[in-house]
């Protein structure tokens, strides 16, 4: 079951990689693969058990998969140290402001839609 699901995910990723080279150089293969799988699920109208199982297992370990690229920080320690305060300030401030703005705006828009629906009902 797990193997069959992973085979499907790998197949979609490889299709995505092919399309990336052929048609869409600006979108990475895995993102195209995700869109393809999404389209496939829309056509099927349901998530088959093997795909559901494989996706669940992989996504549970997503933080682990992100550790190796994170360790890449050590290769750029010097470049980062040279501009440390500018970089730290930029990353922290721009992230926090935009994250809070995104959450606040989305919450407001959801609340507004809710109210409108209640008024109509």
């Amino acid at each position: 079951m797990l193997l069959r699901g992973i085979s499907w995910l790998v197949l979609f990723q490889l299709l995505g990689t092919g399309l990336n080279v052929l048609l869409l150089p600006m979108l990475p293969g895995p993102i195209i693969g995700m869109l393809l799988l999404f389209a496939f699920l829309l056509l099927r109208g349901e998530v088959a058990a093997p795909i559901s199982e494989a996706a669940g297992s992989l996504l549970r370990y997503l933080p682990l998969l992100l550790v190796p690229p994170a360790v890449g920080v050590m290769a750029y320690a010097e470049a980062i140290a040279a501009d440390f305060w500018a970089l730290a300030g930029t990353l922290v401030l721009s992230l926090l402001l935009s994250l809070l703005f995104a959450g606040w705006l989305m919450q407001k828009l959801i609340d507004r839609q809710q109210r409108r629906k209640e008024r109509q009902a």
């Binding site: 979609f12 990723q13 995505g16 600006m26 979108l27 990475p28 293969g29 895995p30 993102i31 693969g33 995700m34 869109l35 799988l37 999404f38 699920l41 559901s52 494989a54 996706a55 669940g56 992989l58 996504l59 370990y61 997503l62 933080p63 682990l64 992100l66 550790v67 190796p68 690229p69 360790v71 890449g72 920080v73 050590m74 290769a75 750029y76 980062i80 501009d83 305060w85 500018a86 970089l87 300030g89 930029t90 990353l91 922290v92 401030l93 721009s94 992230l95 926090l96 402001l97 935009s98 994250l99 809070l100 703005f101 995104a102 959450g103 989305m106 919450q107 828009l109 959801i110 839609q113």
Partner: protein, 238 residues
């Protein structure tokens, strides 16, 4: 005897499984510590990264060597990205209901994230190459690396900024969002995925399936929009 011990240590350090082993070990330790303390600075990706870097420095192993030994983990990052289609599909009904809020938030907050990145970098005096490297920091790393390179930044460093951004988002995001009264899973997911991409999405998945789905959605929309629009905007502005 001590010569044999040194040879044994050497063999272990040079074994292709060594990097993989310390990554698995560090991650489980980080997860256990985080679950016991629930202290935000012990965010699992950040803590594992610190532990792994510490061990590598102690043993005198460089990043290229480490990266080669964890290629079997890295290779699953692609299929894991593809797998995000599943929560997306399962929450399709809710996404359809919220189509306009999603698109508006994407355009406004996405532009703000990008503009603030370059604005602060300019304000704090980072040079042009650094500014171009910082621009795509809110998108998932494969896209960020591509875009940074197109704009004249440093691809590998862009990936590093992406990760730092994600980790900061995952550490401070959930508590701050609660503080300002953002409680709807859809809004929390949008905020995390839009600004903190994959690490934010990993965090969002911990909160629940709906939060995770919106985070995955925001991450892919932001990635696609940045990949297509950012090089255009920079070309027009230059």
């Amino acid at each position: 005897m001590s010569g044999n011990l040194a040879a044994a240590a050497q063999a272990i350090l040079e074994h292709p499984l060594f990097g993989f082993g310390i990554t698995l070990g560090a991650y489980q330790l980080a997860l256990a510590l985080f679950e016991r303390t629930r202290w935000v600075f012990l965010q699992p990706v950040l803590l594992s990264m610190t532990l792994v870097i510490g061990v590598l420095l102690l043993c005198g192993i460089d990043y290229a060597e480490y990266r080669a030994s964890v290629s079997m983990l890295s290779v699953f990052l692609g299929p894991a990205t593809v797998a995000l289609a599943v929560p997306l599909f399962l929450n399709l009904k809710r996404i359809r209901q919220l189509l306009w809020p999603i698109l508006l938030t994407l355009v406004l907050a996405g532009s703000l994230a990008t503009a603030l990145g370059i604005g602060f970098a300019w304000l704090f005096g980072a040079d042009h190459v650094m500014q171009m490297t910082l621009l795509p920091k809110s998108v998932t790393s494969p896209i960020a690396m591509l875009v940074a390179e197109q704009l004249g930044g440093i691809a590998a460093l862009a990936a590093v900024f992406v990760l730092i951004t994600g980790v900061i988002g995952a550490i401070f995001g959930p508590a701050l969002l609660s503080r300002i009264g953002v409680h709807s899973p859809a809004a929390r997911g949008m905020a995390l995925g839009l600004t903190a991409h994959a690490v934010g999405t990993a965090q969002a998945l911990q909160e629940g399936e709906e939060t995770g789905a919106f985070s995955a959605l925001a991450m892919s929309l932001m990635g696609g929009a940045t990949a297509i629009l950012l090089p255009l905007v920079v070309a027009l502005a230059a």
